[in-house]
């Protein structure tokens, strides 16, 4: 498990932030990484009119939270690896405690609480102010790839299976 000394925090934050910026969908949502810790990540998804799911209430779409939580959970997994390897979401469950407050940015905190050779386990909470007043909880499992990784552009070729 990586425990960044305080002086390394900013460098790690910057590196992982660039990773998130590298994701077109992350960029489209405007999601950003706020803080990092050992196996933990904190992020923010800004409220935007175009992301509203219920036009009557102005509440942001569930799909935005799904994408944001998936991404922030993935960052927590990356942060728990000594040598970052490619990962892929295996499953993701989200429980909604309540609707997100219209007009407010959504924050999230993710913790990768166990990582093995093949699988990483993560949980996350989304909220506006504090995790004690959650909008949603997420639990996810990620596949952690070993040495043999799918090559660049693998999805541009014909699928065999």
């Amino acid at each position: 498990m990586t425990s960044p000394p305080p002086d390394q925090h900013d460098a790690i934050l910057e590196r992982v932030r660039m990773m998130m910026q590298f994701t077109p969908q992350g960029r489209a949502l405007g999601a950003e990484l706020v803080r990092v810790g050992p196996s933990r990540a904190w992020g923010k998804a800004p409220y935007r009119e175009e992301l509203v799911g219920d036009p009557e209430t102005g509440v942001i779409a569930g799909g935005v939270l799904t994408t944001f939580l998936d991404q922030i959970c993935g960052v927590a997994v990356i942060l728990s690896m000594q040598d970052p390897r490619p990962i892929a979401t295996l499953d993701l469950r989200i429980d909604y405690m309540r609707a997100a407050a219209p007009g407010r940015d959504i924050l999230a905190e993710a913790h990768c609480y166990k990582i093995g050779q093949t699988i990483a386990f993560v949980r996350a909470t989304a909220y506006e102010d504090t995790p004690e007043d959650p909008i949603a909880h997420a639990v996810a499992a990620f596949m952690v790839h070993s040495g043999a990784v799918r090559k660049f552009g693998a999805n541009l070729r014909e699928r065999k299976s």
Partner: protein
Amino acid sequence: MSQEQDRVTAALARVPYAKFLGVRAELKGDELTLVLPFADHLIGNPMLPALHGGVVGALMELAAITQLAVSGKAEKFPKTIDISIDYLRSGKPVDTYARARVVKIGRRIANVQVEAWQGERTQPIAALHGHFLVAEEDSAA
């Protein structure tokens, strides 16, 4: 276009996030298919490249909500209680489809299963099952 198709298209057009993703609906009889045409901003992994898992999840959740709106004749959108997504294959940079099956619809809660696929219907790239609140406490009306 049938009246129902118009209704579904209009309902989806009112959702800003559906427009953000570029989702459209195709209704044949009572069978609803959501179509997500490929666009660059949907990518989550630029190396492969692959669709963002969250986007595939979002498409399936929208399919569940829209299907419930069609079958329940409800004017209000159902609210998500919980969703569970299984990722089966990485999403290629091509069009993606989703179809929902309402397993059980009670007075207040519906149980829905959804599958998303690309080239072949029999090779789903992801599956979702979830519970949705279809009516508030006193919606006898």
